[in-house]
Symmetry: C2
Subunit: 399 residues, 2 copies
């Protein structure tokens, strides 16, 4: 048996980052992975500018109750003249400071009448209400690194240095199929002995949610030839092949012989719960991941193993998520030799956030993953008492 | 000035949930909002079944070293015969238990030879390795409530009760535009005094990320007639209109008179930082939200005000996110009368998670939102010392 960390390290060591890139316009780049460092050729802001609507002044000239002539008016988007001595410039938020001015008095602190303004403030300090050239970004700064997954604020930052397009990796194409003669599709009638094919639809959510392209090859009968056919098809169209079911050692499972016939497959028992049986290998040169058939195990192992592997192949530099350490709101007394990823969510009482567990942690119980907002880790050979710190991984961080 | 809570409460009180629904197949339902309760007409699992590959037995019959005839073989998807006394059934994971059997012995604890099996275990307890009918879901259970936003595991759960389609709300249509003559588009040359239109691309990320349909009406010149024209167009095509910029009291701002000419607009100064000036009103019967022009303020107020308002209009029942209470890794000594939403991220040292701050919290500094993974709250009139608990809102929870 492999430990969880051994299995994950091995998997990540086999992830070969994609080399396929394309240029996309910024407004289509959400969720894409940068294939280039973004280095600024500009200062942001490009000039000293006003943080307020008000009056640009020479700070040394300002004293209470003194009159100033308003010698010019500078709107955002326009450029003023050098500021004449003993005058001020009417200025608006974002407008560049005129040469000679070094501070802005807010309009709320000013009274203007017939081109003459008086301030209610005693004085103003140099640089007050002024945003400085290059304060946000200086020429030559790497503002975002290759491998970064783009969020809305990142699109704004890239825009702010004037870039209209970026180089990103093409989305990985993931082919999935599910196995099991006991499975029927939703909307169909389930005869005695049959169950609905939940895994197919969980994968149809998980794969696109991470920004990958999904090719859903449906359900494959429990038979060797059909399994080989679909594997060959999957390896032709996709970068990675993922299945659920058919990876235990029972003699009804055809995944292992099918993969071995056109590639190779390692079956792992990983010291984790849920999700013990995992398979990893290669079909016709493409990575193959076999997740357990049990829906909770499939969901957990996708997030814990397939996700970091796929993100690494997508070229992302943050494949692993960091836990949040929080106090347990539960006792855990069943010491086990496997690492337990329990379905959990957070509960606030006053100013304390605690991790709570779904009462039924059975791995057949898909409702636990629906009730939960994340997974908490019960380490191997460990008991947890209320108030102990546990590592919590939010599902929202797995998207 | 309104407090943050007053402004948010007022906004939410004005959110009228959409009534537009449609039926979608499960595999297209990711991220959609349920317009119906999902009530189960099935038990899941539909029958007692085996959790293992092994042998279905009468638990009272099992003693060590006793021989049993294997009287039948039950694969997943098939249904067995009632179990003959003193025999066992070969059974596979997920297969229904035959009548009479009440436990499963794992195949690892059995040796089968020519139709006869011996177990290495001394005994087996009733129900061992058996999943029970209705263990996950019982007939009549509401498994997901109206207003729930669908995640991958939810799609799996809905599938598991056989539903192939669900009723969801149609995505809200959000029209956006940005104002400001100082703005140019990325890819264009920025003349002196001009800056790039970051807000447009931040909104082009934020709006679709929440599952809404975006109609981006671009940038509008700082002029009253043009502003009225685009407002009319926006109100015709969209459910909600959102702008950035043009909502301060400076005389270059045309949003207020434009909205008032075909609806009404309230300008608020909210006791918060970043993002003081917010506008909320109505244009031609559609809600209008005017965010500040400053990119950090626009980003923060979108997430803090527009997001919960839009989710409420989308019919979602969890519009507000809960904070995670964590220890501050910083000191905050500038007591202010406004609530401060500082750009923050988490840092782990051993088993402790702390909130750290971006050094430059200036509201012009968009890099702070890119460095950050969330917002931490500095309440009004409050100092924070290292180790104090602060409320942290992850950006990942705002998607």
């Amino acid at each position: 048996m492999k430990t969880f960390d051994e299995a994950l390290d091995y998997l990540l060591s086999k992830a070969i980052p994609t080399a396929k890139t394309e240029q996309v316009p910024i407004h289509q780049a959400l969720g894409r992975t940068l294939a280039q460092d973004i280095t600024s050729t500009l200062n942001v802001p490009p000039h000293h500018n006003s943080m307020m609507d008000g009056y640009a002044v020479r700070s040394t000239e300002v004293v209470a109750a003194k009159d100033f002539a308003v010698s010019q008016r500078i709107a955002a988007g326009s450029v003023g003249e050098p500021l004449m001595v003993s005058t001020v410039a009417r200025i608006f938020t974002g407008a560049p400071m005129p040469e000679g001015a070094d501070a802005v008095v807010m309009q709320e602190e000013a009274v203007e009448k017939e081109g003459v303004v008086t301030f209610s403030v005693e004085s103003v300090t140099k640089k007050q209400n002024v945003r400085h050239i290059g304060e946000d970004i200086a020429v030559g700064d790497v503002i975002l690194a290759k491998g970064h997954k783009l969020r809305p604020q990142d699109l704004g930052l890239i825009t702010s240095i004037g870039l209209g397009k970026v180089s990103v990796y093409k989305p990985l194409v993931i082919a999935t199929f599910t196995t099991g003669d006991e499975l029927v599709e939703p909307g169909e009638k389930a005869d005695a002995g049959k169950i609905y094919n939940a895994n197919r639809y969980v994968l149809a959510g998980l794969v696109p949610q991470l920004g990958f392209e999904l090719i859903d090859l449906g359900r494959v009968p429990d038979c060797l030839d059909a399994t080989i056919d679909v594997l060959e098809q999957a390896a032709t169209v996709a970068d990675v092949v993922i299945t659920t079911g058919g990876v235990s050692v029972g003699d009804e499972d055809h995944i292992k012989p099918a993969v071995d016939s056109i590639g190779h497959l390692d079956m792992w028992k990983v010291k984790m719960k849920p999700g013990k049986p995992i398979a990893f290998g290669e079909v016709a040169g493409k990575p193959f991941i076999g997740l357990p058939g049990n829906p909770v195990s499939a969901f957990a192992t996708f997030n814990l193993f397939a996700r970091p592997f796929l993100l690494a192949m997508q070229g992302q530099h943050h494949c692993m998520i960091e836990p949040i350490w929080l106090k347990a709101g539960f006792d855990w007394t069943k010491v086990g030799f496997r690492r337990d990823f329990v379905r959990a969510r957070l509960e606030n009482r006053e100013q304390e956030t605690r991790v709570t567990l779904y009462p039924n942690q059975g791995s057949g119980v898909l409702t636990s993953t629906v009730w939960a907002d994340g997974l908490a880790v019960i380490p191997e050979d460990t008991m947890i008492a209320k108030g102990d710190l546990v590592a919590y991984y939010p599902f929202n961080d797995m998207r």
